[in-house]
Structures are given as structure tokens and as C-alpha cells.
């Protein structure tokens, strides 16, 4: 796997997906919570400020009715200086908008359509420097073109609000980052574990039953699953090794007496004159031993392929198909059968070369046996280099559709094949070898004839 693929692989893991979903949910929750707090705070703080200004406006409106201009100016000055009401601003201007009294340096430019409430900015001293503060205020006319402004510094409130907003955004971003980061990390862990498991599983599938899944200290679900699978593999290995042992001892117990028989027959032959009845009997015995041996070989190889305990290596299938076709070419030519082949180069499969060769040889052997003199056999290897398909077609009698399943079983010879020599195990071996290699064996009508397809 390339780094890019590994990265994309992590994005596809379930922990990562769960983390993404949870991060989004948490981020939304945090945003909603802070939004609600902000809304509530604004209502309380804004409401109290507004009430304060409203009351002040009301008071001044009443005072302007009863006080003389100079007294009113004094009142405004007083209020402006009052340190108890922090943040309150006042300004009284003449008809030319020149300040008369108050703690705001100049009448702010206000659009006429802004309604009762408006906002403006004022530079206020802040330590040694000045700072622009936002004010919320109401304005109302006094007498003779004089105007009054009453407001309150809302900068603090704005600061709190923007601080809260920044806090909110930071919280959401952090939640998302932590969520994604955590998800990525967990995804990688899972992927590493899953990768180790699937690597071992592949080796096991290739017949190395001694492999076990990696198990860590932790007692999480993956590890306990791996432990269970390992127990299962122990059992499978025991069974398979048991089968292999049975097979080996069966082989030994059958081959040894056959060997004695052959030795005895061959050993006695030279003492007898060629052509004598006794010698002919021994020759018959010897040839029957040969026949039994070839049947035994085939049966043992089928059983061996079925246990799956066979060494595997990369096999150049293209080269193998060509070599088997080449092995049978002269025989088919003798029979006047046109054996043609088209083999795509570079097809490789993980497998046992000897078993694959024998399976292919059996297919060609069958094809040649059942194709009439002067017939045709076509061998093809096509498909991609790692999923190749081998097809052997002949124009012999074929196999009826309802018998195709049966002939793949042990020792089935159709009535039509009684007069052809053979053990009847050829296709069974092909089937077992196909299965061992995880391939698909299909018998089909070549119209006329048999089409055998081996799809890896």
C-alpha cells in the first residue's frame, strides 16, 4: 500500500467515521450552547442598559420643563461627572451642533432614519492611550433647536460578546480537530490490526496453517475476536495435520505392499522363459501393480489437494499452459487432431506447479481421448494477468448438461467412455486442484464438444 492509499484507507475505517460524526454533533452542540448563553446574556445586559437610558431620558425631559437653561446645563454637567454611573454619556448641543455640556466631545453623525436607538463611536482615554468605544444612545430635542443625547458605553458588552464568539469558534474548531485527529489515530490503529490480521489470513489461505493472528495484551473486541479465530485455527490445523498424517500412513501402507508385489513379480520373472504361461501371469501382475499405482497416485494427489497442505509459490501459468500444450502437441498430431492455442503472456497464479501441470495435462489428455481423429482442440488463456482463465475446448461427444456435476465426483465414467482407457479420476483431480487454487471450474457445451473453463 502506498502512503496515499493508507491515508485514504484510514478515512474508510469505522472508528474514523464515528469520530467524524461525533465531532460534528459535539461541535454543533457547543455552538448551540454558546449561542443560547450569548442570547440570554444579551437580553439581560442589553435590557438593563436600555432601561437605564430610558429612565434617564425620561428624567431629563421632565427636568428641562422645570429648570432654567443654566440650571439644566449644570445638571447635565453634574450627571456627566458623576462617577457612580459608570459608562453613562451625555451631550447637549446648540442649534449649530456645538457642544454645550456633557462628556462626549462632539455630536455624532446620525442618519435621520435610524429611529429612537442609535450607535456611535467615541474615543475614550484608556491608560495612556485612547480606545474607540461603542455607545448606545437616544437623542431628543430640547428647546430652541438645542438637542440632547443620552447614552451608555456598550463596548464592554461588545467585548464580552466577541470574546464569547471567539471562544465559541475556537471550541468548535478544537472539537472538530480533536475528533478528527482522534478518529484518525484510532482508524490507523484498527487498520494496522486489521492489516496484520488479513496478512496472516492470506498466508493461512495459501496453506500455511501454522500462522496465527496477532493478539495484543488489551482485552478489546478485536483482540478477543482474534483469540477466538486463533483457537479455531488451532482446531483446523489439528484436523488438517491429522488428515495429512492419515494420508501419509495410508500412502505408506498401500505403497509398501504394492512395492513388495512388484518386487516379487519382477524378481521371479527372469527365472521363467519368456512367453510361458507363468511368466505371462507375472507380467499381468506387474502391469496391474502399475495400474494400481497410477490410481493410487491420483487418489493421493486429490486427497492432498483437498487437505490444502501443499506448498505454494508463484507459478507462471502462461508458460505452464504453453508447455503442457507443447507436451501433447505431437500426440494430437499423430491422431490428426488440430491442437491450437492462444495464450496471453504474463499470467501468474499462486499455486503448486506440479498439481497445476497435472490438472492441465489431464484436461488435454481427456480432450485428446474423446476427440475423434481429425477433430479440433482449442486451448486458450485469457483475462488479466492475476485473474486468468484457462479454456480447453474439444469437438468430441461432450458431456450432457445433467451429467456435468457428477463427472467431477470421484471415479465417474460415463457409459460412453467405457471403451476408453483411464482411471476416471482425471476430472476429479482437476476439480480438487481447481478448488485448492481458489479457482472456478465450469463444464460447458462447446457445441459440439466439451468446453472446460478454469477461472482463477
Amino acid at each position: 500500500m502506498s502512503p496515499d492509499q493508507r491515508f485514504l484507507g484510514v478515512l474508510d475505517t469505522s472508528p474514523f467515521r464515528i469520530a467524524v460524526v461525533y465531532s460534528i454533533v459535539f461541535a454543533c452542540g457547543a455552538a448551540a450552547l454558546l449561542g443560547a448563553v450569548d442570547f440570554a446574556v444579551s437580553r439581560v445586559v442589553d435590557g438593563s442598559t436600555d432601561n437605564l437610558i430610558e429612565a434617564e431620558v425620561q428624567g431629563l425631559r421632565e427636568q428641562v420643563q422645570v429648570l432654567s437653561r443654566s440650571d439644566f446645563i449644570e445638571l447635565v454637567e453634574q450627571r456627566s461627572q458623576d462617577q457612580d454611573v459608570r459608562g453613562a454619556v451625555y451631550l447637549m448641543v446648540d442649534p449649530q451642533l456645538r457642544p454645550v455640556a456633557g462628556n462626549v466631545p462632539a455630536w455624532p453623525t446620525v442618519d435621520a432614519d435610524q429611529g429612537k436607538w442609535f450607535h456611535f463611536k467615541v474615543s475614550v482615554p484608556f491608560g495612556d492611550a485612547t480606545r474607540v468605544h461603542e455607545m448606545r444612545a437616544q437623542r431628543f430635542p430640547l428647546y430652541g433647536g438645542y438637542r440632547m443625547l443620552v447614552g451608555h458605553d456598550v463596548q464592554e458588552r461588545q467585548d464580552v460578546k466577541s470574546l464569547m464568539m471567539r471562544g465559541l469558534i475556537a471550541a468548535v474548531v478544537l472539537t472538530l480537530l480533536l475528533g478528527l485527529g482522534g478518529g484518525f489515530w484510532m482508524g490507523r490503529r484498527i487498520l494496522a490490526q486489521a492489516g496484520a490480521i488479513s496478512a496472516v489470513a492470506t498466508q493461512i489461505m495459501r496453506g500455511d496453517l501454522s500462522q496465527r493472528l496477532p493478539v495484543r495484551e488489551a482485552d478489546d473486541e478485536i483482540n478477543s475476536l482474534a483469540r477466538e479465530i486463533n483457537n479455531m485455527l488451532d482446531k483446523i490445523e489439528q484436523l488438517t495435520l491429522g488428515m495429512r498424517t492419515v494420508l501419509d500412513s495410508a500412502a505408506h501402507d498401500l505403497r509398501t505392499p504394492l512395492n513388495r508385489l512388484q518386487a516379487t513379480a519382477e524378481g521371479a520373472m527372469p527365472t521363467l522363459t519368456p512367453g510361458s504361461p507363468e511368466r505371462r501371469v507375472l507380467e499381468r501382475v506387474s502391469s496391474e501393480v502399475d495400474h494400481m499405482r497410477s490410481t493410487l497416485d491420483a487418489l493421493l494427489r486429490i486427497a492432498l489437494a483437498e487437505t490444502g497442505t501443499v506448498a505454494r509459490e508463484p507459478v507462471d501459468l502462461s508458460q505452464l499452459v504453453e508447455s503442457v500444450v507443447e507436451l501433447y502437441a505431437p500426440v494430437s498430431e499423430e491422431r490428426g487432431i488440430a491442437l491450437s492455442s492462444s495464450v496471453a503472456p504474463g499470467a501468474t497464479v499462486q499455486g503448486n506447479r506440479q498439481l497445476l501441470a497435472q490438472a492441465l495435462a489431464n484436461l488435454l489428455d481427456n480432450a485428446i481421448k474423446f476427440t475423434p481423429d481429425g477433430g479440433h482442440i482449442r486451448v486458450q488463456l485469457k483475462g488479466s494477468s492475476n485473474e486468468p482463465e484457462v479454456i480447453v475446448e474439444d469437438d468430441g461427444p461432450g458431456i450432457p448438461a445433467d451429467k456435468r456435476e457428477i463427472v467431477l465426483g470421484r471415479r465417474v465414467r460415463l457409459d460412453s467412455a467405457r471403451n476408453v482407457p483411464g482411471s476416471g479420476l482425471g476430472l476429479s483431480l482437476v476439480a480438487a486442484v481447481t478448488k485448492l487454487h481458489g479457482a472456478n471450474l465450469v463444464l460447458d457445451d462447446a457445441g459440439p464438444g466439451l468446453k472446460v473453463s478454469l477461472k482463477f
Binding site: 494420508l247 501419509d248 500412502a251 505408506h252 505403497r255 509398501t256 504394492l258 512395492n259 513388495r260 508385489l261 512388484q262 518386487a263 516379487t264 519382477e266 524378481g267 506387474s286 501393480v289 499405482r293 497410477s294 497416485d297 493421493l300 494427489r301 486427497a303 492432498l304 501443499v310 506448498a311 508447455s323 507443447e326 507436451l327 501433447y328 505431437p330 500426440v331 499423430e334 503448486n352 506447479r353 506440479q354 498439481l355 501441470a357 497435472q358 495435462a361 489428455d365 485428446i368 481421448k369 482407457p421 483411464g422 482411471s423 482425471g426
Partner: protein, 227 residues
């Protein structure tokens, strides 16, 4: 040749010893692995025939121990197991050839002969030019001539002839050819090898008085000058 047989099956051992003696060899026998290893290490034998499954010490362990002591004596392993991988493990343990039971004596004798003469014939593996009578084969130029006349062969026929020439004067069995030329370790049910041989015979013998490629009845083929 002095041959050691390590075999626990009495019938097989006696017949083997008898047949080898009749073929003119000196024979020593051992009926278990431990004795076999002792004898193979102490007696100057030219070859050992070792059964794979032996009491006291397994045949493979015997061969491995023998190789570990640096003994290069050719070893032929006889096996009564199912083959495929067993053959590979047998050869990997240090065996030089591997034969599955039941076997024909002709097959065993041909293989012993091939093992014994491996490397000492004039047509050894390192020679680029192989020669038998007026038949010449050049492995570098892939050119075959007989009596100076060029003979056209297919790639496989060339390999087949090369194998036969490297074993010239010996009997070569069908399974030896299938193993040596095709690297197949199974018995094709049809006479595929015979047809390949008759093709080769057509190519090298047809236009010449003296045939070189002979059929050895009941055993195989032989490429040789006489007869």
C-alpha cells in the same frame, strides 16, 4: 560400484540387493536408519539407496546427518509417501534423486546409473559442445549437426536431445525425461514421451545409416553408438 541399501522392508531390500548384485555391484545392507548412517560414514560406498521411513532414524535425517559430515556420496531416496512436496523435501535434505514406491527395477537401475555417471561422462553439464559419434550439439549456438549436416530441431527437441546426449550410453526412462526435460513429476496417461522421442528419432536418425537413438524394451531409451 559399492552400494549401500538402507531399507527396513525385508522383501523389497532382498530383491533390491539381489538385483543390484546381478547388475554387478557390491552391496551392503542396513535395516534401520542408525546402522545406515554408521555404515555410510564408515564404509567407502559409492552410492546409498535410502528408504524415507526407517526405524530408529528417519531417512531424511540420515541424509542430512551424512551431508552435515561433508560426505558427498550420491543418495537416492525411496519413498512410500504421497509425493508432490515430499519429493522437494527429500531433495532439499540432500538427496540426489527421489523415487516413489512401487517402482520398476529398470527405473531404479537407470537412475542409479545416471547418478553414478553424473559428471564423469565427456558430455558433462559444463561442456558447451556435446558429441556422440558423428552427432554434435552446441549449447551456445544451439546448433545440431550430424556428419557435418545441420539438423533442424524445435526448442523442445533440442532440450530432449541435449538431455539424451548428456546421458549418452545410459538408459533413460520416460519419467526421467519428463522430470529432466519438462520438470513434470507425474505420469501422463498417454504415450506423450514416446511420440516426442519418435519425432527426435526422425530428425537425427532418419537420413543416416547407423541409428543412435535406441528403444530399450521395458525400460526407456538410450542414445548410443553401437548395435
Amino acid at each position: 560400484m559399492h552400494i549401500l541399501i538402507v531399507e527396513d522392508d525385508e522383501v523389497a531390500r532382498d530383491y533390491l540387493a539381489k538385483a543390484l548384485r546381478e547388475a554387478g555391484h557390491t552391496v551392503d545392507v542396513a535395516n534401520n536408519g542408525l546402522d545406515g548412517l554408521h555404515m555410510a560414514s564408515s564404509i567407502a560406498v559409492d552410492m546409498a539407496i535410502v528408504d524415507r521411513m526407517l526405524p530408529k532414524m528417519d531417512g531424511l535425517a540420515l541424509v542430512q546427518s551424512l551431508r552435515a559430515t561433508g560426505r558427498k556420496v550420491p543418495v537416492l531416496i525411496l519413498s512410500a509417501l504421497g509425493d508432490v512436496d515430499d519429493r522437494i523435501t527429500g531433495l532439499r535434505a540432500g538427496g540426489d534423486d527421489y523415487l516413489t514406491k512401487p517402482y520398476h527395477m529398470s527405473e531404479l537401475l537407470a537412475r542409479i546409473d545416471a547418478l553414478a555417471r553424473r559428471g564423469d561422462s565427456g558430455n558433462s553439464e559444463t561442456n558447451t559442445k556435446l558429441k556422440l559419434a558423428d552427432l554434435e550439439l552446441d549449447r551456445m549456438t544451439r546448433r545440431v549437426t550430424r556428419n557435418g549436416k545441420k539438423i533442424e530441431l524445435t526448442a523442445r527437441e533440442f532440450q530432449l536431445l541435449e538431455f539424451m546426449m548428456r546421458h549418452s550410453g545410459q538408459v533413460v526412462t520416460r519419467t526421467m525425461l519428463l522430470e529432466g526435460v519438462w520438470d513434470y513429476h507425474f505420469d501422463p496417461q498417454t504415450n506423450v514421451i514416446d511420440v516426442h522421442i519418435s519425432r527426435l528419432r526422425q530428425a537425427i536418425d532418419k537420413d543416416f545409416d547407423k541409428p543412435l537413438l535406441h528403444t530399450v524394451r521395458g525400460a526407456g531409451y538410450s542414445l548410443r553408438e553401437d548395435e
